[in-house]
């Protein structure tokens, strides 16, 4: 497939936004059972708005993928059958919940709905936050399933696809939360940093599993099934167009196999070991710069990862477009 940067930015940006929000709710959940002290001031409000900004940026990026952005509202119609439609619904719902969550924290309006002494304290933000958590995971699943549901794109058609989208989003979100917290509430840095490293390692395991799986993939469609001639030796001589077509532009990445392989190693280095190392160093030295660098490098690595994810998928239609 030809990787589209609009989709690469959409998936990585909203992933980080979702992860950042989940990181905030993790702290609130810990605080509500008394395991952590809630950070003071505008901590939740500011971070929620940063998460929201990432989601908005992702949404804007997605519009560049559309031929008719002005008709985008129509895309909520077929949620019964289309994962893309479901994503289109889940994203604004999640954005709305993040906004309300951030606003409630910012205003400090957090009444206890079930009485003064009933845990957890501050139920209103907690309740909105929990709805946000559900929406965040629903959005991860929708995003992953857009690709995972296409059964003849065999590189994508695995439960590992939505799992990877989820874990990459959470890992980058927690890394970002670590960096932001180093500036705003240094007491929580170790908490976030630990989780960020754990999720990055977890994402490394699942992404490695999908890489190994895809290396051994046996494609079900061949030129013989594509044109229905039972012969081992078939060669294309003409594809019906000399100047290329939509089919040659949309479904081929147009780079060499060596380039593809190098991108794989680039993302394997930038997403996993380098950020983990920087996180560990940053936590040890209490350096917000190193933690910020960890997020920046991991994000660049994720751009490469997403590029590779698209480029690696071999669409069966390519069988019809092998020679001009």
């Amino acid at each position: 497939m030809h990787p589209a940067f609009s989709v690469i930015f959409l998936t990585t940006l909203i992933g980080a936004g979702q992860g950042l929000f989940l990181a905030l709710m993790t702290v609130q959940a810990y605080a509500d059972i008394g395991a952590l002290a809630l950070p003071e001031g505008s901590y939740f409000g500011t971070n929620s708005m940063i998460a929201l900004a990432l989601l908005v940026a992702g949404l804007i990026a997605s519009f560049f993928h559309l031929g008719h952005p002005e008709r985008a509202w129509r895309s909520a119609a077929m949620w019964r059958t289309s994962w893309l439609s479901r994503e289109v619904i889940a994203l604004p719902i999640f954005m709305g919940l993040v906004f309300v969550y951030g606003l409630l924290h910012y205003l400090g309006y957090n009444p206890n709905l079930f009485g003064e002494n009933a845990p957890p304290q501050g139920e209103l933000t907690y309740l909105v936050g929990l709805l946000g958590v559900v929406a965040a995971f629903a959005l991860f699943i929708c995003t992953g399933m857009i690709y995972g549901c296409l059964k003849f794109l065999q590189e994508w058609n695995t439960p590992l696809t939505p799992i990877n989208y989820t874990l990459f989003g959470i890992a980058s979100g927690f890394t970002l939360a670590t960096a932001l917290t180093a500036w705003m509430a240094p007491t929580l840095v170790n908490f976030y940093g630990g989780w960020a490293i754990a999720f990055t390692v977890l994402a490394f395991i699942t992404r490695s599993a999908s890489l190994i799986r895809n290396q051994r993939i046996k494609h079900r469609s061949t030129l013989a099934t594509a044109i229905g001639v039972r012969h081992a030796q078939i060669q294309q001589k003409a594809q019906g167009a000399m100047g290329g077509s939509f089919n040659t532009r949309e479904f081929f990445h147009g780079k060499t196999a060596a380039f593809l392989k190098s991108i794989k190693w680039v993302f394997l280095v930038l997403v996993f070991p380098v950020p983990v190392l920087l996180l560990a160093l940053g936590l040890q030295n209490n350096s917000a710069t190193l933690l910020g660098l960890a997020f920046a490098i991991q994000y660049v690595g994720l751009l490469a990862e997403r590029w590779f994810f698209f480029a690696q998928a071999k669409h069966p239609q390519n069988l019809y477009y092998q020679t001009i």
């Binding site: 008709r71 077929m78 059958t81 289309s82 229905g228 001639v229 003409a238 019906g240 100047g243 290329g244």
Partner: protein
């Protein structure tokens, strides 16, 4: 239930591209607006086509065979491109099984093209909507046309009659009989899309002629001598009746 479809005879197709040009001509002139052509006279001409003829070489030299392979939307019975469409612009008609795109609803996200294993859909880079074969839906029901012309443009153009058009759900239709009797097959059956369009395979037409069929052993000329001749002196009815 009706399911209109094409049956393409690979044994007869000569790869002349007449179906491609007639398809383009008809569909670029319709109500939906032109099918885009970029650099039509330039270095890298490109554009949107509903139908393309490709050429494959099967076998190893010198035992090769050239297969011309016309390729268009197969109007699957279970089209994977339809459920993925987020706006409902892509749909399969209940009444005749044609898979169509509503150009006014399409947002041009290309997801349906990703979901088609055959690469049958091509985006129109000018109108920014997805386009595909309509089986000339604006032609086959047009009662202002004479009955024999109510067929897809590609079918009418084919000089060798390699393209048949009809209802594959009617067991007595021309297309169903062709599929049944000449080994018609679908493309990429492994994905369960159940394409309605079928292809008829290449066939070798051979006849075994025995020696005794070239020279008849019971040749009456040899066996019985010459045929009897008419006696010139014999009188006929005309002789006596002509006065």
């Amino acid at each position: 239930m009706t399911q209109l479809a094409l049956v393409i005879d690979l044994n007869v197709c000569v790869g002349c591209h007449a179906c491609v040009t007639n398809c383009k001509q008809w569909n670029t002139s319709g109500e939906a607006g032109p099918l885009v052509d970029e650099n039509p006279y330039g270095k890298d001409p490109t554009g949107t086509f509903f139908n393309r003829v490709q050429t494959f070489e099967v076998g190893e030299f010198p035992h090769t065979e050239t297969v011309h392979f016309p390729k268009s939307c197969l109007h699957c019975e279970d089209p994977p491109c339809v459920p993925v469409c987020p706006t409902g612009a892509s749909y399969k008609r209940e009444e005749d099984g044609i898979v169509l795109v509503d150009y006014d609803k399409c947002i041009g996200c290309k997801y349906c093209a990703w979901a088609c294993p055959y690469g049958a859909r091509e985006i129109d880079e000018k109108q920014k909507v997805m386009k595909k074969c309509t089986l000339c839906v604006d032609r086959i029901y047009d009662e202002s046309l004479p009955e024999p012309e109510r067929k897809p443009a590609c079918v009418l153009a084919c000089p060798t009659s390699a393209r048949l058009f009809g209802d594959v759900h009617d067991p007595e239709s021309e297309v169903s009989i062709a599929i049944r009797e000449q080994g018609g097959y679908p493309l990429m059956p492994e994905w369960g899309t159940q394409p309605s369009n079928h292809y008829l395979p290449r066939r070798k037409t051979k006849m075994k002629i025995h020696k005794d069929e070239l020279v008849r052993v019971d040749n009456p000329l040899k066996k019985d001598g010459h045929l009897p001749k008419v006696d010139e002196n014999e009188s006929f009815l005309e002789d006596s009746a002509s006065w």
